[in-house]
């Protein structure tokens, strides 16, 4: 059994769909290290256009890996102001550097109260551990 350690930076907030959000003047959103490891090698990313208004949990793009496609879901409501064109051109950046070059998009948030309902790093770690305990006693350590 291969044991892998996954990063969970302390200065970010997290949602239950494995997206992180860095709160600043404009929020930056990405896929967590644990999230990208579950998805596997990412081969395609597609975003809604900048300027699109999305609700919390709403679809703001799609992602494909190994013949699986899923949705990019917004952790909070707001307006997409920029998408990561470099990650779109080279989606493997999301696997290689999910908290750095592999960020997904920037957003002007609409409701700061939603951020308060997200998980901090400790809560996200606990949530992942519980999910693993329930579904798979496998190869991830945190």
């Amino acid at each position: 059994m291969q044991m892998e350690k996954r990063a969970i930076p302390d200065d970010l907030f997290y949602d239950s769909n494995d997206f992180w959000i860095k709160v600043a003047k404009e929020a930056v959103i990405g896929l967590t290290d644990y999230g990208q490891s579950n998805i596997g090698d990412i081969i395609y990313l597609e975003f809604v256009p900048a300027g699109t208004v999305v609700r919390q949990g709403g679809r703001c793009g799609s992602i494909e890996s190994g013949k699986w496609v899923g949705s990019l879901l917004a952790p909070v409501s707001g307006v997409i102001v920029e998408t990561n064109r470099e990650a779109e051109a080279d989606p493997h950046q999301v696997n290689a550097d999910p908290f750095g070059r592999g960020w997904l998009y920037r957003m002007e948030t609409a409701n700061r109260n939603e951020i308060a309902l997200l998980m901090d790093s400790g809560a996200y770690k606990t949530w992942i551990e519980e999910r693993i305990r329930l579904k798979e006693k496998d190869d991830v350590t945190l």
């Binding site: 490891s37 579950n38 890996s65 190994g66 013949k67 699986w68 496609v69 999910r131 798979e136």
Partner: protein
């Protein structure tokens, strides 16, 4: 779980029923085959990059874009489809995507093994034996569900598949046909006797029952059929088909996991046909190479 053993269905229904199940949040296993041929694009395929639309129009081959992953496939009545829809909160679903296939392709692998074929999974989603691809598969999130779709090739029309894809020229097309023929294999190729659809379907259902528990046969109800009708209209609409998708630089066709045929530009404004196997150029041929035999004429 519900079993929709539908047998022959219209080409749109062969995709729209499982989409409708997923959109309604209903779990189920669909076993079917389309009565007429069509081309099916993956969610992120680019129609203009992938398909020779003139050829498809002239030969009456309709197009549909599914909401699951993977690439362009030619589908017809010599392929048995299995389509599993599970709610995303179903505890049977592994967290890691590659484990979906390890788990849910086991019934299909068992079907091949029962026929004496040493089938195995080539990650993430091909079923292979002896280095050749027997089956390609895809999956995706649709609504609140996840759908896993695959097929068993009783036979395959390599000629039409080669002709329906948009390629740089006829030399590339002949290479494409040859490479597909050498690396994809069907039951008709490897068995000395014909296998009945009903036998394959029964074995497949038995395999899924081993994983999912008892399956309850049922027919689509009015709500499912109406949802499928509306989904089918969307999946075949011009607007949906024309959605932009991936367009690699130069023509690139995926034949099987780890196997690609590329048209690589040269300094002389021409191109080389490059067969890439597991990241290594296994075969390079000048684009104007006339040594390849012509494509066989479709019977």
């Amino acid at each position: 779980m519900d079993l929709y053993h539908l047998g022959p269905v219209g080409w749109i229904e062969s995709q729209s029923i499982y989409h409708a199940l997923a959109l309604l949040g209903l779990e189920g296993l669909v076993i079917c085959y389309p009565t007429t041929p069509y081309i099916c694009l993956g969610l992120h395929d680019d129609l203009d990059y992938e398909i020779d639309q003139s050829y498809c129009r002239e030969h009456g081959i309709p197009l549909l874009r599914r909401e699951t992953g993977g690439g362009v496939v030619y589908l017809d009545d010599r392929q048995l489809f299995f389509q599993l829809v599970l709610r995303r909160d179903n505890p049977l679903l592994p967290l890691r995507r590659h484990r979906f296939y390890e788990k849910f392709l086991q019934p299909a692998i068992s079907v091949y093994r029962n026929l004496g074929i040493a089938a195995e999974l080539r990650a993430p989603a091909d079923i292979t034996a002896g280095g050749k691809k027997y089956s390609g598969n895809g999956s995706g999130e649709i609504g609140r569900c996840a759908a896993y779709v695959g097929n068993i090739l009783l036979d395959f029309d390599f000629v039409t598949m080669s002709r329906a894809l948009k390629v740089p020229d006829e030399t590339y097309r002949r290479h494409l046909y040859r490479i597909m023929r050498a690396n994809i294999i069907t039951l008709a190729d490897c068995l000395e006797y014909p296998v009945e659809y009903s036998t394959l379907a029964a074995n497949l259902i038995a395999g899924f029952e081993g994983q999912l528990g008892d399956l309850s046969p049922r027919d689509p109800d009015a709500e499912l059929l109406e949802t499928a009708r509306r989904v089918g209209e969307r999946l075949t609409s011009r607007e949906w088909l024309n959605l932009p998708g991936r367009r690699p630089a130069g023509r690139k066709v995926k034949i099987a996991e780890g196997l690609y045929l590329l048209a690589q530009q040269t300094a002389e404004q021409g191109y080389n046909t490059v067969l890439v196997r597991d990241g290594i150029a296994a075969e390079i041929t000048a684009g104007n190479d006339a040594m390849e035999p012509a494509l066989p004429v479709r019977a």
